[in-house]
Every structure is written in C-alpha cells, then in structure tokens.
C-alpha cells in the first residue's frame, strides 16, 4: 500500500470521530504489524473484494464504545450495542474509502468479534498496517491489509472473495 492509500484511512478515522463526537481523534504514525495480536475487546472486520482484496478491521475497548454510544445519545447500553457500534465504525471507515478507491472497492457487511485475539489472520504475503488511534484517553486501532487484485484474481468467480480468514476455533 502507498502512503497516499494509508492516508485515505487515516482521514476516515479522523472524520469519524470529529463528525460523531465533535472531538477529533489523534492518530499516531502507522506501523507494520508484527506477530503480536492487535485486538481489543470488540473488533469489527470488513472484507474487501473487487479491484482490491483483503480486509480492514477496527478494534476498540468496551469503555470507548460505551462513551461513543453516550455521545450518540444512547442511555441504556449493553453488549449488543457495543458489538453493533464497532461494526458500524469499521463499515463507515471502509465505505468512505470508496471516495478514493472507487465503486469497485467492494465492502462486506461487518463481521464482529468479541475478544479472542488470535482469531483473525490475513494472508501471509500481505503487509498489515496498524493505525493507532487515541480519542480522549481511549486507545483503539485500525488495521488495514490490502492488495490490488491481479488480472487473474480479477476474474469474476474470485472477485467476491475477500482475503480475510477468521478462525473461530482458535
């Protein structure tokens, strides 16, 4: 991924927090993910297909999601609301990226995971970029793993297959 492409997602993060809460988030320099897991309490995963393949996921602690839900006007907040919101944040940031990548940047509906840091694995040949986010005192992360589809992978029968594997057994 190019710096310009990563910046598209950074802009998406900043826009989300600014518009929804009125308070901007701070984004630290992106880094390449190593072997360590980068997942907090709730994770929303969006599979990407079409001209690009891969996934984007947003992971957050429960406390930040509760605070965001309060900002959205929610008063009674439960587990299902936190699940719903983490998926919605991931969906919004990935969907906004189509303004740059175009309508062939196809996004899936969110897959939401609770805990289980070893459950998400991306194809080994792809680099995973981690964007650290701080909003108020809360930490969250956006992880991007994308490749441009080759002519072979652009074949119709493969275009609907995102490149993310979620192992529900581990």
């Amino acid at each position: 991924m190019s710096d310009e492409e990563i910046q598209v997602f950074i802009d998406g993060v900043v826009r989300y927090f600014e518009r929804v809460t009125g308070e901007p988030a701070e984004v630290d320099a992106p880094y390449l993910k190593g072997e360590d897991s980068v997942t907090l309490d709730f994770t929303g995963v969006i599979g990407i297909s079409g001209r690009h393949r891969g996934a984007v996921y947003f992971t957050s602690g429960a406390e930040q999601l509760t605070e965001l839900l309060h900002r959205l006007g929610e008063t009674v907040i439960g587990f299902s609301d936190q699940e719903d919101l983490v998926g919605e944040v991931a969906n919004t940031i990935a969907g906004n990226a189509r303004q740059y990548f175009g309508s062939e940047f196809l996004i899936s509906v969110p897959l939401v995971l609770f805990g289980q840091p070893d459950r998400i694995s991306f194809p080994h040949h792809l680099k995973n970029f981690v964007i650290p986010i701080t909003w108020r005192s809360y930490r969250s992360y956006l992880i991007i793993c994308l490749e441009r589809a080759t002519a072979e992978r652009d074949a119709p029968e493969l275009r609907s297959q995102p490149g993310v594997i979620v192992d529900l057994q581990s």
């Binding site: 826009r15 518009r19 719903d84 919101l85 509906v109």
Partner: protein, 130 residues
C-alpha cells in the same frame, strides 16, 4: 422491528439500516409532526416486507446490508410506489454509487459519518419537500 407512534397528521417513515445504533440515532432526529409512524428494518428483506405492508411516504435507506442491498431495495420500492420520498444514508462515499442511487429514485444522499446537524437538515428537507 417495532413501530413508534408520533403525534401529528400525516406520513409514515421507514428507517432501514443494519445497525441498530444508527436506526435509533435517525429516529431521535425526527422532530417533524408530519411523521406519524416510524417503522424500522435491519436488512433489505425486512424493509420490503414493511414497505409492502405499510406503504410509507418517507424512507431512509442504508446501502450495505445483509440479505438484500439498499440499491436493489430502492428499485423495488420505486416500482411499487414512485412518489416515495427516499434518502440514502450510507458510508459509501463514491460519486458513482450516489449517482446510481439517485437514478434509481433516491431524493437525497447523506454520507456517514453524519453530525446531528447534518442529519437534522437532511431529514427536514426530505419531509418538508414531500
């Protein structure tokens, strides 16, 4: 999904979004007394069931949803009731999708994330211009 009755004299509103948080957020921003009843659907299939049963005057429509996507829903709804006032509220920020939604019959297109002010203004326009 349930329905809420609002004091007033006219139109029904169907809110379609797979996020319950977004559905409730939209519902909280309906201040017009022209909206008398609010229905909610979490996917395109549910949306079509409610649309065919209640024939709402106003619809807010997400695009990326399970079971049936929003663009397909728009086409089906407009075929059944072309005078429906419909506003897309979606994260999909590309111009092609917005143009396609409008060509299928959408009256407004709001890109998530929205501020409370953005949503108030768009909903007021949708309902006032009916």
């Amino acid at each position: 999904m349930g329905a809420r009755t609002v004091l007033g004299t006219s139109g029904r509103l169907l809110i379609v979004d797979d996020s319950s948080t977004v559905r409730r957020s939209i519902e909280r921003h309906i201040f017009s007394d022209r909206v008398t009843k609010i229905y909610q659907a979490a996917n395109g299939r549910e949306a079509m069931e409610l649309f065919e049963r209640y024939r709402p005057e106003f619809v807010t429509m997400d695009l990326t949803m399970p079971e049936m996507d929003g663009l397909t829903c728009i086409s089906k709804m407009m075929a059944l009731k072309p005078d429906t006032r419909l506003m897309v509220i979606s994260a999909l920020g590309d111009a092609e999708t917005a143009i396609e939604a409008v060509e299928r019959g959408a009256n407004e297109y709001v890109v998530k994330p929205f501020s409370a002010e953005d949503l108030n203004l768009a909903l007021t326009n949708l309902i006032a211009e009916a």
